[in-house]
């Protein structure tokens, strides 16, 4: 049994402009200790998916359907109280913007202690000791001093480390990281990614990593799933996805990613484009969501939405032409 099993997840939002189908039938699983990357561009639904795991989606205007099972337990039917017992404890989350995710008027130590006292019932002294331990674990140079500092006294990279420390304080089995390095400078990002690699080994938590950066995916993830317009279009082990992407969107995305050092090989340095733009999620889309921008689209694609199928060993794609697409790639 997988640690986390998501089945046919749907999240729709009703606003004045209409109903937005942010996530529309997404299924995936995460095994213990593995890192699954969820990749996609803005509006694909990856952040909403992450927030629904922790039931952080406001329920009006949103509505959730489907099933999210954690260690066999259905999360979508739990009461608020039961859910609170899971958040920060069994499942933790790290957000994109460390500046706004940390409370500016509480010291770092207090914020770590909060989760420890709540979930593990530690007293002040024990909680502070563990907080110092966590800060050292995430590579903060002077943890004893840091415990007494406020978020604004720390740099962006340090704040993100603090967020990771808070998230890991109660030894969660699953960590959901929503674009954890996007807001950081690239040299700081390198530090934090290195930290995450090391923590994976030491702590053994499973990670759901939400990102749009394929470079980060290649470094950190074991399996990857690609989302587009609220649907999952491809899933594969990481090496396989980069080597032989099957879905035209994934191929387009990989083509559009700039490759460092491309100017040296004398290869074509013009980036491949995906023509057009992401469809409006308020309109119901007939057929394949990507058909409007796909060079291979036919009438079949515009009429019938392809199911996600296994095309190769552990490699799934939702495309009528996937085997052919692989040949053309």
């Amino acid at each position: 049994m997988a640690l986390l099993e998501v089945e046919n997840l749907q999240v729709h939002f009703r606003t004045l402009d209409g109903v937005t189908r942010a996530v529309d039938g997404v299924s995936f699983h995460v095994n213990e200790g593995e890192t699954l990357a969820v990749v996609g561009e803005s509006g694909c639904g990856k952040s909403v998916t992450a927030m629904s795991i922790l039931r952080l989606v406001p329920e009006p205007p949103g509505r959730i359907a489907g099933s999210i099972r954690f260690q066999g337990r259905e999360l979508l039917t739990l009461s608020d109280r039961e859910m609170r017992g899971i958040r920060g404890n069994d499942i933790s989350m790290v957000f994109q913007e460390p500046m706004t995710s940390l409370n500016p008027v509480l010291t770092v130590g207090r914020q770590i202690r909060e989760t420890l006292r709540l979930h593990q019932g530690l007293d002040n002294k024990a909680a502070t000791a563990r907080a110092v331990e966590m800060l050292a674990l995430v590579g903060i140079p002077d943890p004893r001093q840091c415990v007494r500092q406020f978020p604004h006294q720390l740099s962006g990279g340090m704040r993100q480390r603090v967020m990771i420390a808070i998230a890991l304080a109660c030894n969660p089995k699953l960590l959901v990281a929503d674009e954890p390095t996007t807001a950081l400078d690239v040299t700081i990002q390198a530090q934090v990614l290195g930290l995450m690699q090391e923590l994976k080994r030491r702590v053994g938590a499973a990670i759901v990593l939400i990102t749009h950066d394929l470079g980060v995916v290649a470094e950190v993830a074991e399996r990857v799933m690609v989302m587009y317009a609220g649907h999952k279009v491809e899933e594969a082990p990481v090496a396989e996805l980069f080597r032989a992407p099957l879905h035209p969107y994934t191929q387009g995305l990989l083509g559009a990613v700039p490759k460092l050092g491309s100017s040296l090989t004398g290869a074509q340095t013009r980036l491949a484009e995906i023509p057009g733009q992401v469809p409006d999620l308020k309109l119901r889309i007939e057929g394949c969501v990507f058909a409007g921008r796909c060079a291979l689209a036919t009438d079949l694609c515009r009429a019938i939405a392809p199911a996600l199928e296994a095309k190769a060993q552990r490699h799934f794609a939702a495309c009528h032409f996937a085997p052919r697409a692989a040949a053309a790639a």
Binding site: H12, L16, V19, P61, I64, E286, A303, A305, P306
Partner: protein
Amino acid sequence: MSAPIVTVPPGIAVAPEMPDLWSAVKPPRGVIGFLRRHPTVAVGGMLLLLMVLMAVLAPYLGTVDPTALAPARRTRAPSANFWFGTDMLGRDIYSRVVYGARVSLTVGFAVAALASMTGLAIGLFSGFVRWADAILQRVMDGLMSIPPILLAVALMALTRGSVGSVVAAITIPEIPRVSRLVRSVVLSLRDQPYVDAAVVAGTRTPTIILRHILPNTLAPITVQATYICASAMIVEAILSFIGAGTPPTIPSWGNIMAEGRALWQVKPFIVFFPAAFLSVTVLAVNLLGDGLRDALDPRLAKAL
């Protein structure tokens, strides 16, 4: 354009149909739609409109001369002839209240308009022209520290009382509040990239203020203007109540209440009716202001 019907060829896997979680909503468009989404605006606006109509159509609403004295029938309780009763000089309270609406609404709207426009001009200038900012802000601070009631009393002493001087007395202390609001909006707008873009595109400063900054200040100003209107009507009533406001020859809700003050325990109807109308009008204006603020705030606008 619907997709052509295609029979599913064998071997093609079709994605399962995902149900709608929400029923389709058709957002009502236009003014009616706006009013339905923002009921406070509708209610407040409606009440205010009623008051305005009442004031404008005063002569046709079954009123008599509000200043006509008839001591023979003083302090009669409300009856079929005198719907709100008569005051200590025999004047018909109903007529006085209806005509009194004119004064209150005039003062409210005039103060709101004058304070907003002056505050807007000062705030725009102050927010955009740095060297003027420090001086103007200190002047505004000074003005704000004058209690409006005191200022009104002083003005009354210097000039002959009239609705005009009441308006002036209430407007002046309100200007700094508006200018501060405008100034803070301007300061935040000044840093917007589209203002930089306008500079780079060669636009002159006055044009930048008029075309790029001003339109974005109108929403907060409108909301603030409604609050000023409500406040001005109450201050006018207070001033009239203490005798420093509208001259007693002109019926105003404050005047009527002032006159009825001595008798209010035995003849409460004299004070009650103007007070009730004043409250309803102020409530209407406040509802309108609150509703507009929610309606015009772009962040709240999208959530249902």
